[in-house]
């Protein structure tokens, strides 16, 4: 039996920060974000990637009625579509209309809320689910966390939220020789009662799910396309659709999960590398060779209640870098200071009940802000620097810390309209305890 191919593309754009100055802190209506730059980058990526890639996908979906793909569009990406590219949004809606495309759920602000604030995590997932329903008329059934940040607790939280599937990185150390080409299950355990109660109160879907399957990224085959496709020093260069199909079939299993950034097409791998022709050829070859495609929820349905292995992630994993951990966002002092700073404002911001303040606070939670402060590959003379809109991690932090100072001041100055009730205060306390447990293995490893 040939495996099913499960394509999932991540689509996301952060709101990049303006060159904020200390003299602006506390002034009326300070805007933290660089609209000119955000607009320019969005249009550039739209022309190089989103529009041509969506046109290609639409053509393929029409030509091959059995062809299936899935996307996760971050909420901040959808917001930017409204600001800078309704044409891009329309092209995604056209894909949705084929009925062959699935949209996954994620945190609206592409944030680290899952490891820092449970109420915020629940709120952002709910916001995202409603937005997807509103724009595409579909309710997500499968969850994918920011940058595939994953841990046993996160899988259980997602299950209690109502999701039937979750995506994660197929990390070698957790697979321990097993193939990623089959759905896995998280270990079964109960979350603390106050956590479950909070999730029940903020559940994005109608009821919790009884079962949970994990779809693991086949990082070797995914990265062959996403990272190595145009690498002339790679032994697989030039990669043809035929050869790649040979590899997919050779891997066997139930499903091969090819997870990658959508910007792979046209932005990371430029059009002149032949990446569009490569994708164009795949559905035809797959049909000829009997290889099917499926969306994550189709995989979940097809697997149903069959037995499978347990994927046991005690420590947090992600799809980032070789380390596959949180060190891209929480690897140094300035990153910790920034993340602590923003989540430290949660109560103060929420108590104001000011929607504008809340939105600014949430836009500052986008994980890219912390990623741009990474000094991991910023070692002297290292050419593998992270892509960043800023000159240095320090410049990223300078801008961010000013925004944080301004936000802190605005929250302190604003009248408190939402006095935390008994319930809410105790929830905060309980969750803090839970999240400290959640973060423990990472903290221990770091010390």
């Amino acid at each position: 039996m040939t495996p099913n191919i499960c394509f999932y593309f991540q689509v996301h754009q952060p709101y990049r920060l303006r060159d904020l100055r200390i003299t602006e802190i506390g002034r009326d209506g300070v805007d933290y974000f660089d609209h000119a730059k955000n607009g320019a980058i969005f249009r550039k990526v739209a022309e190089k990637c989103y529009l041509p890639a969506n046109a290609l996908m639409l053509e393929l979906l029409r030509q091959y009625p059995a062809f299936r793909i899935s996307y996760s569009l971050s909420g901040v990406f959808l917001d930017q579509c409204e600001e800078y590219g309704t044409d891009v949004l329309a092209s995604f809606q056209a894909l949705a209309a084929t009925g062959q495309v699935e949209f996954l759920a994620e945190t609206y602000y592409h944030s680290l809320a899952s490891i820092r604030s449970l109420p915020e995590f629940c709120d952002q997932v709910s916001m995202h689910v409603s937005r997807i329903q509103e724009l595409f008329g579909k309710t997500p059934r499968v969850f994918r966390n920011t940058e595939l940040i994953y841990k046993n607790e996160i899988a259980q939280m997602a299950r209690e939220m109502g999701f039937e599937g979750i995506l994660a990185e197929g990390a070698d150390h957790l697979l321990a020789g097993r193939s990623p080409n089959e759905p896995f299950r998280p270990p079964r355990f109960d979350l603390p009662r106050d956590v479950s109660r909070l999730i029940a109160d903020h559940r994005p879907l109608t009821k919790q799910s009884n079962d949970m399957l994990i779809l693991l990224k086949n990082y070797r085959l995914s990265d062959d396309v996403a990272f190595r496709f145009s690498d002339r020093s790679w032994i697989g260069f030039p990669l043809t659709a035929d050869t790649f199909t040979d590899w997919l079939i050779a891997g066997g299993g139930f499903c091969v999960n090819l997870f990658m950034d959508y910007e792979t097409f046209g932005e990371h791998q430029w059009a002149d590398t032949g990446i569009f022709e490569f994708i164009h050829a795949l559905p035809r070859i797959w049909r000829e060779r009997g290889v099917g495609t499926a969306t994550p929820s189709q995989i979940v349905d097809a697997w149903a209640s069959r037995q499978t292995h347990v994927y046991d992630a005690h420590a947090v994993i992600s799809w980032a870098d070789i380390e596959r951990d949180l060190s891209a966002w929480l690897g140094n002092r300035i990153q910790h200071a920034a993340v602590d700073g923003i989540y430290g404002l949660e109560q103060a911001v929420k108590e104001t009940g000011d929607p504008e303040l809340l939105r600014s606070w949430r836009k500052l939670q986008t994980s890219d802000h912390f990623y741009h402060m990474s000094t991991k590959y910023w070692s002297d003379g290292d050419v593998h620097k992270y892509f960043s809109p800023y000159e240095s991690p320090y410049e990223a932090y300078r801008r961010y810390s000013h925004a944080l100072c301004d936000l802190r001041q605005r929250a302190a100055d604003a009248p408190k309209t939402q006095v935390p009730g008994r319930n809410q205060a105790s929830i905060f306390e309980g969750l803090r305890r839970f999240l400290s447990i959640l973060n423990t293995p990472f903290a221990i490893r770091n010390s």
């Binding site: 060159d19 100055r21 200390i22 003299t23 140094n332 002092r333 300035i334 910790h336 200071a337 000094t375 910023w378 070692s379 002297d380 003379g381 000159e391 240095s392 320090y394 410049e395 932090y397 300078r398 810390s401 000013h402 100072c405």
Partner: protein, 443 residues
């Protein structure tokens, strides 16, 4: 005096060769015999200043390079215009005696080219320490001429493989010695007249520089920034220029705590400028930055360490800006005082207009001080863990400083990561590049 130094020098030469042979022997133990050991080079170097008698980066860089070359097995004969060089094992230092100086008649070049005021500026701008100036009377041109005239006399008993000279004051001496010994000439550029004068060069000096650069077989620039300067303003072909960034060797000497009490203890944040008070180093901009910061946080204290021709103007400007209680001028400081100040400072600023390299930024990093440097500098090419700002952007520099003072995690992060560059840019590593340049020239 001359005889003593010569004798001492020869003795040392022997010693240094001995060290080299030892090195070869140790190589032979670990390597197959058919591999030829690297050739032991002898470089004849013309320097202008050398610690302890030096006014800026040129002397420090020269010393670092000399020591680095010796550690790379290169035999060094260093010729200086005055008896200042610090004796060190393995180094042959030579300088003219008073009698030799007296026998040389050189015309004064001062009168035809500038008045005494502009000459004084040039003297200080050209990094000539006052003490050295006094040694040679008040005429820099005359000093240069004398040095040139004696270059062969002082070195005729040497047998160098290569002649290496540092900045325009030594170029003619280098040219003459290279011709005499029939050896290739390396011109090492630590600064150009364009850097020193905010792009209003003294034509006489720029002419000397161009002449030396054209005569050299190979040019070493201390940064890509300087290489571009040589290409753009001197018309030197790019492929003639090699870039070897300056190095840094940490010398751990205990800092004195004299300054702690003098500058009001540690409760007030302290922002430091250290360098000669000349147009090039842009202390004027430091006051502009201080002015902006003072308006936001009057608690911050500023220190300008160093002296120079702009001192008077800067003090006036400080008073005009109402910063007399906020800015401290220290004058020239001793090394322990400098160390103590670096250690005490919360942040170091190098706002130079045009800085070929900027060793002082590495000094600051070695003392765990966060740095903000002008983007118009050579050191900006090698420093990653620092703020780099255009020299004219006082607002942004002030903002970076205030952010470092406000955000302890940022200061800690900069301080923990920046010293990585010091390990990479050791003088031994940088001198190895110079050695390979010699190798190419000799072959």
């Amino acid at each position: 005096m001359h005889h003593v130094s010569n004798f001492y020098g020869n003795l040392i030469v022997l010693k240094s060769q001995e060290i080299w042979y030892n090195h070869e022997i140790s190589c032979n133990f670990s390597q197959p015999k058919n591999i030829h050991p690297p050739v032991a080079f002898h470089t004849l170097m013309f320097g202008w200043e050398y610690p302890p008698l030096h006014s800026g980066g040129l002397g420090v860089a020269c010393q670092g390079l000399v020591r680095g070359l010796m550690r790379n097995g290169v035999q060094v004969t260093l010729v200086l215009p005055h008896a200042s060089g610090q004796a060190e094992p393995g180094l042959d230092i030579r300088f003219p005696t008073d009698e030799q100086c007296a026998t040389v008649n050189v015309p004064s070049l001062l009168q035809p080219y500038d008045g005494s005021a502009s000459y004084r500026n040039r003297l200080s701008a050209a990094c000539v320490p006052q003490e050295v100036g006094e040694l040679y009377g008040q005429d820099l041109g005359e000093a240069v001429e004398r040095f040139t005239a004696l270059s062969v006399e002082l070195t005729k008993n040497t047998d160098p493989d290569v002649v290496h000279c540092h900045d325009w004051m030594t170029y003619d001496a280098g040219i003459r010695a290279a011709r005499h010994h029939e050896r290739p000439l390396v011109a090492h550029v630590h600064a150009t007249e364009f850097d020193r004068t905010d792009f209003h060069p003294n034509e006489w000096i720029a002419g000397r520089e161009r002449h030396g650069l054209l005569a050299a077989d190979r040019i070493i620039a201390v940064s890509g920034y300087t290489r571009n300067m040589l290409v753009q303003h001197y018309g030197i072909p790019e492929d003639k220029i090699a870039v070897v960034h300056n190095g840094h060797d940490a010398e751990r000497i205990e800092a004195t705590d004299i300054l702690q009490s003098q500058y009001g203890g540690t409760e007030r944040p302290l922002v430091l400028f250290l360098g000669r008070l000349t147009v090039q180093k842009n202390p004027w901009q430091f006051l502009e930055i201080a002015h902006r910061i003072h308006a936001i946080d009057p608690h911050v204290q500023f220190v300008l360490a160093g002296d120079g021709p702009m001192l008077g103007t800067l003090i006036e400007r400080t008073c005009d800006l109402g910063l007399q209680d906020t800015v401290i001028f220290t004058g020239k400081l001793s090394q322990p005082e400098v160390r103590s100040l670096f250690t005490r400072a919360n942040c170091f600023v190098m706002p130079s207009l045009s800085e070929p390299f900027g060793l002082v930024a590495l000094e600051a990093i070695a003392h765990n001080t966060p740095v903000i440097i002008s983007r118009q500098s050579g050191v900006a090419e090698v420093l990653d863990h620092a703020f780099k700002v255009d020299y004219w952007d006082a607002d942004k520099m002030a903002d970076c400083i205030l952010t470092i003072l406000r955000e302890k995690p940022l200061a800690d992060q900069l301080v923990s990561e920046a010293p990585g560059i010091l390990r990479r840019l050791s003088w031994q590593n940088q001198a190895a590049h110079v050695r390979s340049i010699y190798h190419q020239l000799i072959q």
